[in-house]
């Protein structure tokens, strides 16, 4: 039976990945030469490391995401460069959404082992940064360097190469590695082996209740930010089933994430057995690098319906539409043989066109190097970022019946109602002094720095965020963006409606 025939005769469900010969050999070695205490301690340590790897990808991807102006022109007025920008934004956001899923899955596994996941102040930095336990050299990139150091940088051909470095596919015969790994797949492969030793039992995964892990109904594969149009559309046309004659937005909408791109019954699994922990890791590896073995990374897709590209292939396809792709033989990247790299995608987008839809962000900015009057805004932005991580940690401390509401008013509100419009506002502010200032012909604009700003203890973090908000408002008082800053700070820290809180939740009661 061919792989395709399997999809025809069986419901499309991602199979659990079998151990490879290399993994079986490692499990046998661990069984023979290790002991329960060492294996359990390493499993817990590696899962915290995995959480930090996943967390590290999020600011890196979001930084480039926010450099993209997705809707400079839209509807019937979309130009090819706008279509590319909107697609790039949707693709990167679709990956960032799945990275948040991966971080949460690793958190759920670790929590099930009785360990509170640590996120606060665990983002990487300074940039350019290595990833936790990542091998420091890798395949040569378009700049000729083999260094695996990932910058915060606007969307570009070179930055997409760094994204590929993160998502580089694991080969089917790769040796599991939790130190000096070359692919994230190898890192999870090692963790899978630890789980599969004789020392680890189902009971180990019941130390942290499944009910207080992040529940599946807090995840959805797509949203209005991950979708994008693939053609011009009539903004006034109605969607199906009673669509009107024009080509509606619904008709051209593309959904880069597929609802079946996961192992197990749901995307966001809660864990109380070895097999559920293994399924959760399958989802992580498949979405990042490609569909589960035995076909392995030879597949550019990661789901049974073959409708969602892996992270690696999504980024490679974005590169393939840039004019630079394949243009200069001396400007080539070290790509794996599988999955086969796509042919150049037309219409190719030139650098001149990209300049119209990419904000000129500085590389690897830090708050201390922004002009003094902008530093409080950057601090507030970092405060919101770190507070989001604290809120994520807090989810594991909530009574289960409170989780959904907390997730809505905490995670959704902070991301969509504070961070997103705050960065949207910041990227309109030109940096006119200091090391990031650009010439008048190529102005540089303010960007998020995603630093590990200190909010004090988790118990006092909300108060610290309130303080950062007040400082941002004060620093913006005489600026054109004063009302925006005031409104966003209020949304984060003080807003009320009908006497009830409409701001981010104060987590102090839980710590």
């Amino acid at each position: 039976m061919t792989n395709d025939e399997k999809f025809i005769v069986a419901p499309p469900q991602d199979p659990a990945t079998w151990l490879t010969p290399a993994e079986l050999a490692l499990v046998a070695d661990l069984d023979l030469n290790s002991n329960r205490d060492d294996v359990l301690a390493r499993l817990k340590g590696d899962l915290q490391g995995a959480i930090e790897v996943e967390l590290a990808t999020i600011p890196i991807y979001l930084y480039s995401y926010y450099s993209v102006k997705r809707t400079e022109k839209t509807g019937e007025n979309i130009r090819p460069c706008d279509l590319y920008a909107n697609k790039a934004g949707g693709m990167i956001m679709s990956v960032a959404i799945e990275e948040m899923l991966h971080m949460t899955l690793s958190c759920n596994i670790l929590y099930s082992l009785g360990v509170q996941p640590q996120l606060y102040k665990k983002a990487p930095g300074p940039y350019p940064t290595g990833l936790p336990y990542h091998k420091k050299t890798g395949p040569v990139g378009p700049d000729g360097s083999d260094k695996v150091l990932i910058p915060l940088s606007k969307l570009s051909y070179e930055q997409l190469w760094h994204f590929l470095q993160i998502e580089y596919p694991e080969t089917a015969d790769a040796w599991p590695e939790d130190r000096n790994w070359q692919t994230i797949g190898q890192f999870y492969s090692y963790i899978r082996c630890l789980v599969c030793t004789k020392f680890i039992t189902d009971d180990d995964f019941t130390a942290g209740s499944k009910n207080t892990q992040v529940q599946s109904d807090n995840y959805s594969p797509n949203c209005v930010n991950s979708i994008y149009p693939d053609d011009r559309f009539d903004p006034w046309a109605m969607p199906p089933p009673n669509g009107s004659s024009g080509q509606s937005a619904a008709a051209v909408a593309q959904y880069p994430n597929s609802p079946d791109s996961h192992a197990g019954l749901v995307e966001l699994l809660t864990v109380d057995t070895k097999s559920l922990a293994l399924l959760a890791m399958d989802t992580i590896c498949d979405q990042g690098e490609g569909y589960a073995r035995p076909w392995g990374a030879a597949e550019p897709t990661d789901d049974p319906s073959k409708s969602e590209f892996s992270h690696y292939f999504k980024f490679l396809r974005l590169q393939a539409q840039m004019e630079e792709y394949g243009l200069n033989p001396s400007h080539q990247e070290g790509l794996p043989a599988n999955p086969k790299a796509p042919d150049a995608i037309s219409p190719a987008v030139s650098q001149t066109e990209l300049d119209e839809v990419i904000v000129n962000f500085p590389d690897n900015p830090i708050t201390a190097c922004y002009p003094p009057d902008l530093q409080p805004i950057s601090d507030f932005c970092n405060g919101v970022f770190q507070y989001m991580l604290i809120m994520t940690e807090t989810v594991y401390k909530l009574p289960p019946e409170e989780q959904k509401l907390f997730f809505n008013i905490g995670m959704h509100r902070s991301m969509i109602w504070v961070l997103d419009p705050l960065i949207d506002m910041m990227r309109d502010i030109e940096i006119t002094e200091g090391p990031y200032a650009g010439p008048s012909t190529a102005p540089v604009f303010m960007a998020p720095t995603f630093e590990n700003i200190n909010l004090g203890t988790r118990k006092t973090a909300f108060s610290a965020l309130v303080g950062l908000g007040k400082a941002a408002v004060a620093a913006s008082a005489d600026k054109s963006y004063a009302s925006s800053v005031t409104g966003l700070v209020a949304t984060a820290t003080t807003a009320k409606s009908d006497g009830q809180s409409m701001h981010l939740p104060d987590v102090s009661p839980y710590w």
Binding site: G75, C223, M238, I416
Partner: protein
């Protein structure tokens, strides 16, 4: 074709010339009746954005809508995003949230559990779940019609208990929405007053596909 901005060109002639202008303020509502998320989801006579004062009609006194399902647009405080709703059954839908939530627009359990902006502009489509790619408003109307028998009984009981005006008509099936919006819901062209007042409502999202003025 103009390329001066989002939403241009607009359809000509303006197709909602015969409809009353979109009311930016929400009128006084019938006492004791539930608020709702959009056009055609009202539970009783006089419950819509114009309220008991009724909507203007050329050369005639204002008219209230006659009954459930006939109202002009939302009576919940307008909000532009997931979790920003004040109360039960006041969330719009389609932009953020799970497929399950997106399949039940206007049916959220309580404050901050709603999915997305109200009013539900007719161009909006769901991004997840069984209704993916399809009209959110049509789904909301279908869910409202399915749930109406239960809601009608609850309201009838409230009438019996004296908690709701006994003169409120509670038909066995909801009435039709105003004819210009039949089968599609409140078009953003109408909400925005022929694309002149894009601030009348906002719907989140950076893809430009929400069909309404964006908030980010």
């Amino acid at each position: 074709m103009s390329d001066s901005g989002i939403g241009d060109p607009t359809p000509k002639p303006y197709p909602y010339e015969d409809a009353p202008d979109f009311p930016t303020e929400i009128g006084v509502q019938p006492e004791g009746m539930p608020l709702h998320a959009c056009m055609g989801l009202n539970s009783c006579q006089g419950a819509d954005r114009f309220g008991i004062a009724g909507h203007p009609v050329d050369g005639m006194p204002n008219q209230q809508n006659d009954c459930a399902g006939q109202g002009y647009c939302s009576t919940t405080a307008s909000h532009s995003c997931h979790v920003q709703n004040n109360c039960a059954n006041q969330g719009g839908c389609g932009l953020y949230g799970t497929g399950e939530e997106m399949n039940q627009p206007g049916q959220n359990a309580c404050r901050s559990l709603g999915s997305c902006a109200t009013p539900i502009n007719a161009e909006r489509f769901s991004t997840n779940g069984p209704n993916k790619g399809k009209s959110v408003w049509l789904r909301a109307r279908a869910v409202f019609e399915d749930n109406w028998p239960t809601l009608q009984k609850e309201l009838a009981q409230k009438q019996t208990d004296g908690k709701v005006n006994s003169g409120q008509p509670l038909p066995s099936t909801p009435g039709s929405v105003p004819s210009l919006f039949e089968g599609k819901g409140p078009a953003y062209l109408w909400v925005s007053d022929d694309n002149e007042q894009r601030g009348h409502m906002a719907a989140c999202g950076s893809s430009g596909l929400s069909g309404a003025g964006g908030c980010s």
